[in-house]
């Protein structure tokens, strides 16, 4: 009969360590021995999570139906594969965005966002290839990069809710939204060969920045926060 020196509970003869605190049982009068009759089985059920990948594969097969139908109709009607590639590309995009992450146990936010935008860029490139024009490198690429950064920032900020206060996070979001809008305008200016003079993105940037400053100010001033709370409390 042994007791845990740390917890004071009596331990069954089968216990080598205390199940509560892991302290080793040292009883000079009855040293621990491998139990002949273990109260618990030694076999062990190995379980892996029921895979979401099965669902993903099933849906992927379902998606093959519209792909085949459009390819076939295109081939029969036009004697070549042309417009059906739009559909194929779009379905491929759906696969990458929604089904591809289901093959992973964890949700790797940054990597998946990057892959999604890469796929989007690929689809845009396909559209340019099919429809002609010269815009994918000058508009598509910069927009994909800036949107990717913006989306990532959005997820990163709201993933660890306790790292900063909500006001600071909102302020960062607002500033980056302003910068993002500016990046869009610059991209368009570059593409159309206009001089780098901002016209309309100011209208987004200035209020965003002003509001962000106000939020940061609010976050730093306890008395203002309190005054606001006093005037606007709900319960």
């Amino acid at each position: 009969m042994s007791y845990c020196v740390n917890c004071g509970v009596e331990l069954a003869e089968t216990e080598k360590n205390c199940p509560l605190c892991d302290t080793e049982v040292i009883n000079p009068r009855s040293p621990w021995q491998e139990p002949i009759d273990s109260p618990y089985p030694t076999a062990y059920e190995v379980a892996v999570p029921l895979n979401k990948s099965k669902v993903a594969t099933f849906v992927s097969f379902l998606l093959l139906i519209p792909i085949l139908v459009t390819l076939l109709s295109n081939l029969i009607a036009n004697g070549e594969i042309s417009w059906s590639l739009y559909v194929v590309g779009a379905i491929a995009l759906v696969f990458v965005v929604f089904l591809f992450p289901m093959y992973f146990k964890k949700f790797y936010t940054a990597r998946f966002i990057f892959i999604d935008y890469l796929a989007l860029f690929g689809y845009l490139a396909l559209i340019q290839y099919l429809a002609g024009g010269k815009w994918v490198m000058s508009i598509g690429l910069p927009l994909c990069i800036s949107s990717c950064g913006f989306t990532w920032l959005f997820f990163a900020l709201f993933r660890h809710p306790k790292s900063t206060t909500i006001l600071v996070r909102l302020a960062i979001m607002l500033i980056s939204l302003g910068v993002y809008v500016m990046a869009i305008e610059l991209t368009l200016l570059e593409h159309f060969g206009n001089p780098f003079e901002l016209h309309w993105s100011y209208y987004a940037l200035i209020p965003c920045a002003a509001l962000a400053m106000a939020l940061l100010f609010l976050d730093s001033r306890k008395d203002v926060k309190e005054a606001l709370h006093k005037r606007m409390f709900l319960k």
Binding site: V9, S38, P41, T42, A43, Y44, E45
Partner: protein, 439 residues
């Protein structure tokens, strides 16, 4: 209220999933199924062939356990399966997620190891009492076949020579539903965080306590055994919560403290004349508000005793389950296709689910077996599988003067068991522990 003739035979081809059971199919995840386990340890190693025969006859007597989960257009339903599942060799990690596509679709598994016969059941089929009735009937059949033991049968240990009865397969929620509903809103409880283990690591810590030791103390305080254990559990959880803010003054942490609540399943069979073996249980969340200050054990005991007194009444429990049954009858909800319902139910479950309690203590009570059976059965265990969010659960059953307290845990840290058992030891109640930690 519909009256059921107790001798009316059951003709089960399929059953609707009852009100309490509906949440489980929707809430289950790839790595989690709501399971519970009851097991009996005999005084001799198990004879597998005989156990197989016993399982066959028992399953015939319990059609409500030979069911397969199917999806209808609007609601899930349970379809009878003929035959029996394969017996499984017991494992060290009980209540691991059940894959419903395996085991011929059966939602139970009968396992054996050495001298133990164990039954693990997906909660959609039944509750602890129903499961225990199945297990005891299985063991009685086993003993009959093995030793020719003549065990008297009753409403708990059923006679397998009889036909299944309608009252045993009935949806008692539907029969006893009332007209009054009540609000379900409740504050979220403190949640024991910890380092999650992989889904197939399940720690079992089992404490054996002499019933008279603990019962005399409970009587001294004029509370029931469940109330006494709940109070100890609340003390343990409260200490864990305070320890998470170690080094800070109470005034600084006061606002951050959350209510400590323990969910206690309540048998409804005690209140209503039914012998259903399907789910017929409700629960109450009993606890304290640590923001009010430090509670002494006596204060917690008092709080638990009086809260139980208010909550565990037929009227209150009826309003509680009627709320769910009436909500389910909503026309719009009924007409929503099942897959949408499942999404909605899952969302509700994730938002509410077991957030309202810090852990669960399920007490199956004192199990008394007929003399002819008792001499073969040494020990009875009850385990509640891990919950969706709360990763430490506690299940209790007493038999032959011993109270067996089983903790199941899917986090690395054993703090709750430690606080709970050491608190009992400090109260002067001896505890003998064993665990599956060696595997």
């Amino acid at each position: 209220m519909k009256v059921i003739d107790s001798s009316e035979k059951a003709n089960v081809k399929w059953l609707k999933v009852d009100n309490a059971g509906k949440i489980y199919p929707a809430a289950r995840r790839g790595d989690w199924t709501a399971l519970f386990r009851v097991s009996a340890t005999l005084n001799e190693p198990i004879d597998v062939d005989i156990l197989e025969q016993a399982q066959r006859t028992t399953l015939k007597r319990f059609p409500q356990f030979s069911l397969k989960l199917k999806s209808g257009l609007f609601w899930p339903y349970l379809e009878i399966i003929h035959g029996s599942p394969e017996l499984q060799i017991d494992v060290a990690n009980p209540c691991v997620r059940m894959d419903l596509s395996e085991n011929k679709g059966f939602m139970l598994r009968v396992r054996y190891y050495n001298k133990t016969i164990a039954l693990e059941v997906f909660h959609v089929l039944s509750d602890g009492s129903g499961g225990m009735s199945f297990l005891l009937t299985l063991v009685a059949e086993y003993l009959r076949l093995k030793y020719g033991a003549d065990i008297p049968r009753d409403n708990n240990i059923l006679n397998c020579a009889d036909e299944p009865k309608q009252t045993e397969v009935e949806d008692a929620f539907e029969r006893f539903v009332g007209k009054v509903t009540q609000s379900r809103s409740e504050a979220d409880a403190f949640y024991i965080k910890g380092t999650k283990e992989p889904m197939d690591i399940i720690h079992v810590t089992s404490g054996v306590i002499p019933v008279n030791e603990i019962l005399s103390r409970a009587k001294e305080k004029q509370v029931s055994l469940t109330e006494y254990l709940t109070a100890v559990m609340i003390m343990a959880v409260t200490k864990i919560q305070l320890d998470t803010y170690k080094g800070k003054s109470f005034e600084r942490i006061r606002k951050k403290l959350k209510p400590v609540k323990v969910s206690i399943p309540i048998k409804l069979r005690k209140f209503y004349p039914t012998n259903t073996k399907r789910i017929f249980a409700s629960y109450v969340n009993i606890g304290i508000e640590p923001r009010l200050g430090a509670f002494t054990f006596n204060e917690v005991l008092k709080a638990v005793h009086h809260q139980m007194g208010v909550e565990v009444t037929e009227k209150n429990l009826n309003a509680k389950f009627s709320t769910n049954v009436i909500a389910e009858r909503n026309k719009l909800l009924t007409l929503t296709p099942l897959f949408l319902k499942n999404i909605a139910l899952k969302m509700v479950f994730n938002m509410v689910g077991d957030r309202k309690s810090s852990t669960v203590i399920s007490n199956l009570g004192n199990i008394v077996l007929p003399e002819e059976m008792q001499k073969y059965v040494d020990r009875i265990d009850f385990l509640v599988g891990p919950l969706s969010r709360n990763r430490v659960t506690c299940a209790v059953a007493s038999y032959k003067g011993k109270l067996v307290v089983n903790f199941i845990r899917t986090i690395k840290e054993s703090m709750l068991e430690r606080e709970f058992f050491t608190y009992l030891v400090k109260l002067g109640i001896p505890v003998k522990l064993s665990s599956n930690s060696g595997y």
